[in-house]
Symmetry: C2
Amino acid sequence: MLAEARARDAADPLRDYRARFDLPQGVIYLDGNSLGALPKATAGRMAQVIRGEWGEGLIRSWNSADWIGMPQRVGGKIAPLIGAAPDEVIACDSTSVNLFKLIAAALRMQPGRKVVLSEPGNFPTDLYMIAGLEAQGLAERRLVPRERIAGALDGDVALLLLTHVHYKTGAVFDMAALTRAAHEAGALVLWDLSHSAGAIPVDLNGCGADFAVGCGYKYLNGGPGAPAFAYAARRHHEALEQPLTGWMGHAAPFAFSDDYAPAAGVDRLLTGTPPILGLAALEVGIELAAEIGIERLAAKSRALSEFFRTCLDRAGVELDLVSPADPEQRGSQLSFRHPEAYAICQALIARGVIGDFRDPDILRLGFAPAYVSFEDVAQAAQHLAEVLKTGEWQREEFRERAAVT
Amino acid sequence: MLAEARARDAADPLRDYRARFDLPQGVIYLDGNSLGALPKATAGRMAQVIRGEWGEGLIRSWNSADWIGMPQRVGGKIAPLIGAAPDEVIACDSTSVNLFKLIAAALRMQPGRKVVLSEPGNFPTDLYMIAGLEAQGLAERRLVPRERIAGALDGDVALLLLTHVHYKTGAVFDMAALTRAAHEAGALVLWDLSHSAGAIPVDLNGCGADFAVGCGYKYLNGGPGAPAFAYAARRHHEALEQPLTGWMGHAAPFAFSDDYAPAAGVDRLLTGTPPILGLAALEVGIELAAEIGIERLAAKSRALSEFFRTCLDRAGVELDLVSPADPEQRGSQLSFRHPEAYAICQALIARGVIGDFRDPDILRLGFAPAYVSFEDVAQAAQHLAEVLKTGEWQREEFRERAAVT
């Protein structure tokens, strides 16, 4: 398969982008869905921000380097990747904190309704942030399996909160259909795009979505714990009231008045002082994704994961695929169920193939299209075939659980 | 005064620490209370985190570089600066977000009480975060001038929320006395240490404080928008329930269960994925402050601001000092009231003396003890005397307001 892989790499319109990332020698990185790789431009940009803007510019850089405008500027650059207008997206805080703001804001827009509907097995922080508002007495969490979601949209549902691409399986929700169903039932919709943004096309405005959040450190390559983003459709801006009313969301932060008055537009989603170092790194990653373009990223992502399946087939590997077999129905990952998934994942890492494990039995391999090559894919499939064939995953060393899995 | 200043610098036990910062040429920086200067070690440490830990280590660094332990590790290093035990402090989110968590947590511990007591003119975000909980129907904000705070502690007060060092005037609250008064009235106390940490001694545990928050980008020199910190006295850990229940505050984040169960100790104050770049820069700043030691920092801070007053006196400058005249009663700043404070501040900046302006009429000069010299102070006083004497602040260019003031 190596010859075929190389031929595909040679024909890949994205082949030159791999060199725009700093990738370690001897590693095949299939975990960009957990932490995206380092763009080569990031280190230089960060040195400039640190030495130039912070060290030389000091406090003046809030104006001269437009630090104060970074949440809006970076948010605006995410917008075309997710089908939003630039003034509908802002980069700030973590995905979790942004979930809290938008769930709370949606609940306030829905007097008489308290239910936030989601699915069991959604990414934990989404479910926990609903629980946080439930513990405040402001929400009622209702979890219904994904195939019964549409049927569970009754008159009590204030908000439907779903993760567009499932973190474990990679399965994609039909955003247009579910948004329509929610609206017909009088519910609002909040989409978590953590595993979508930068990997597959998203059309928030085309689907009539209300709110969205997403993660900066996966396919946007913003660095570990990068700031997240939040989206609110323009039609909701005026009514948007979120509880984390910090000074940066104020209409006039530097008037230092005692009473809160929300800023116009998505600016009111801001809370504290913007994290400049994190935003600067995130901006580099987003610019690179935007330069490649989401359609090309998605096309290559599908080609990579399909090629991986072909390689496994030809190597005679039979594994229980839990991701949808149709590449249009999944994100940029393939997940396999195996009772020894943890040990298999560790054995692959020992061979230089980095994927990840999701409790209790999922081996998850991500195909970040900006820097993963077809040769990576062919070799990774070969390693997986050998790990399974040799049974080397049975070694004791591969069973020891680390703090972060 | 220059000769005297130089003699003081020569005798200053902290004189060698100035060289541990990258300070721009031709600038006297008296705004470390707004954004602390860049430690020289930061750029190198950040390059290592970016190229080594992120670029080379990739996802493995959550374990191998102990990224997962950074909020606790960095928090633990702040602890000795504020009179806390290492397991009582955690670095995360912004000051604003941490205020929300701890105000909400305190309210839950106080059934039957809803009032959060503070003073008008407290830093806006503190007041706004109370307002955010008030808009949720969970709090009632009561603002009483500082001299009447103790008398306003009645049976409705759940929490007293005060900023230890006032951002505008630098006036210091008596933490021990007010904490005692609050406890006698059955209230809990949350101290905002944004203008205290790294500048003046704080003894949270000695005062019996309940909760605290603080800022990483002022005297801790953590960089623009650095992560903040939160403190909870150990006796409250078990009862602590905060509403931003994200996955990082879960007892077992990587078990990916649907239901939230809080982690032990201050870990339950975590919400989203830790911002590693921001935490790494903050850690460098904190280590430097800890190396110098808070008693030496505070002693020099007092000496610097007293020397500035002496220099102004000798230059015949009369300005309306709104900071307490007693250096023990103020933080590391001097604030002067003048109807043309904005233009005077701009004229000083044009001369290379960077202080700041606080609406509507305050010129605020900070004396960050780790890197400001007595010579800086003498020259700044001379510039201020000249600006006032020549009236150069009256130029049109000094009246134009920037976005961030």
